[in-house]
Symmetry: C2
Subunit: 237 residues, 2 copies
DNA sequence: ACCTGAACACCGTTCAAGT
DNA sequence: ACCTGAACACCGTTCAAGT
């Protein structure tokens, strides 16, 4: 306190007015979350990382939740930017495939974003909500433009969306708990004799069901089911 | 069951030796979790509920995580019991439909179980793992018995499993955060003009995509896709 | 062998200041 | 207007006992 201090010894000098900002806090929060994990992100830890007193953060965000919501907004922004544009004239199958594959890839590469947007589901701001809805609207337009009724288009979108999120979330949760590998899983069972089918498949596949291959299979079956639905619909006026 | 305790004054008499048990603690933990929510279940809160000192719990469970794992085991036990038996000779479509509908219903009715088994994914004991695998084995046997290759049977199982879990988890997460109803969602957008499709659908459906109707649709499309897959498979030897 | 409170490190948050 | 530490209530966990 007495003198402006050099950085040695764990002492921290008082920050000047205006030297901190909401943006800097948010950025720091992402750094900490990516270094540890979102649910281990704490206010003291973040303050240490930023080199400020804990309570300084509270001037910009009155609750931790407010900070998390601000982070979510940034996450949505990046998410929307990471989605590939819809190329005009492409088939609905390709549009769905590409969009949701990009979504899965984004969350796979950015675990913190998945934790923020999928597992925590903090409230989105109006702007973030709007951006996400615009994406959905564009996909629905493609589906309807190629023959789906609006109701079916929504159901199609929801089905593949829930499947994709299920894949991502389930995978993420497995990773957050202590990553039970196939080895530990199979070791856990003393006796595979009563389960010949799983015993054989276990050697070949991880059992989580969230691999790239699994995802491709699921999407393939869904698209197949959607095609039949489209064919069975009454013809367009 | 007998709770000999005075709720008055906050005073607590010393419990006799043997008056507490792992089972009683687990039961109490479920009661607290169901009363509040799993992630608000704390050791002090649980001790208060049981009328014991906090540290007494630590004689039976050396970490909170140990307690949660024990709870998970009980949950798996109840889950397996809640699954309907496979009636002999039933079609694979019906077997999948009934099994996963029961799964969804179970978690829908027992939020704490969903939090324990799906969101937290604490490590299962050998016995719990075995019980779950036996269920999966039985379903795979039905699929293979009616013509699916073992590989396809596993993929089919994984696809519908991930979709079902996605539906349950997404719904649960929405409920855990402050339940954004359709009203608040639509109110959040000042301007629906650029999104005519969603504007119209919003009036008709909740946008979460996890309703009974959504689930039935998704399962229907998956089963449809599975049927095509089965038809396209090389005929059985 | 079982149950206990005191005590510690950590967290989110409030408050009454300092500059 | 911005940044600060002291302080509080709460949590998970350890320890050195009591019975």
């Amino acid at each position: 306190m007495s003198k402006p201090e050099s950085t040695d010894g764990g002492q921290r000098t008082r920050r000047n007015r205006g030297s901190l900002s909401a943006q800097e806090i948010i950025n720091g929060a992402f750094e900490v979350a990516e270094g540890i994990s979102l649910d281990k992100l704490s206010m003291p830890e973040l303050a240490r990382h930023l080199g400020v007193g804990v309570t300084s953060i509270y001037w910009y965000f009155r609750k931790k939740e407010e900070l998390l919501n601000a982070m979510t907004d940034v996450a949505v922004e990046r998410f929307v930017r990471a989605m590939p544009p819809l190329t005009p004239g492409e088939t609905w199958q390709r549009a769905l495939r590409v969009h949701f594959a990009a979504q899965r890839e984004f969350y796979g590469a950015h675990a913190t974003m998945a934790d923020l947007m999928l597992i925590r589901t903090s409230t989105y701001s109006r702007d973030a909500t709007r951006r996400v809805f615009e994406l959905e609207e564009a996909l629905l337009a493609i589906l309807i433009g190629q023959g789906f009724t609006p109701d079916n288009a929504l159901h199609v979108y929801n089905a593949i969306s829930v499947y994709t999120r299920g894949n991502i979330i389930h995978d993420r949760i497995l990773r957050l708990s202590d990553t039970p590998t196939l080895d530990t899983r199979s070791r856990r069972l003393s006796d595979w004799r009563s389960m010949p089918i799983l015993a054989a498949l276990t050697a070949k596949y991880p059992l989580a069901g969230t691999s790239d291959e699994d995802y491709a299979f699921g999407v393939g079956r869904l698209l197949c089911g959607f095609e039949i639905l489209l064919a069975e619909q009454p013809e367009a006026v």
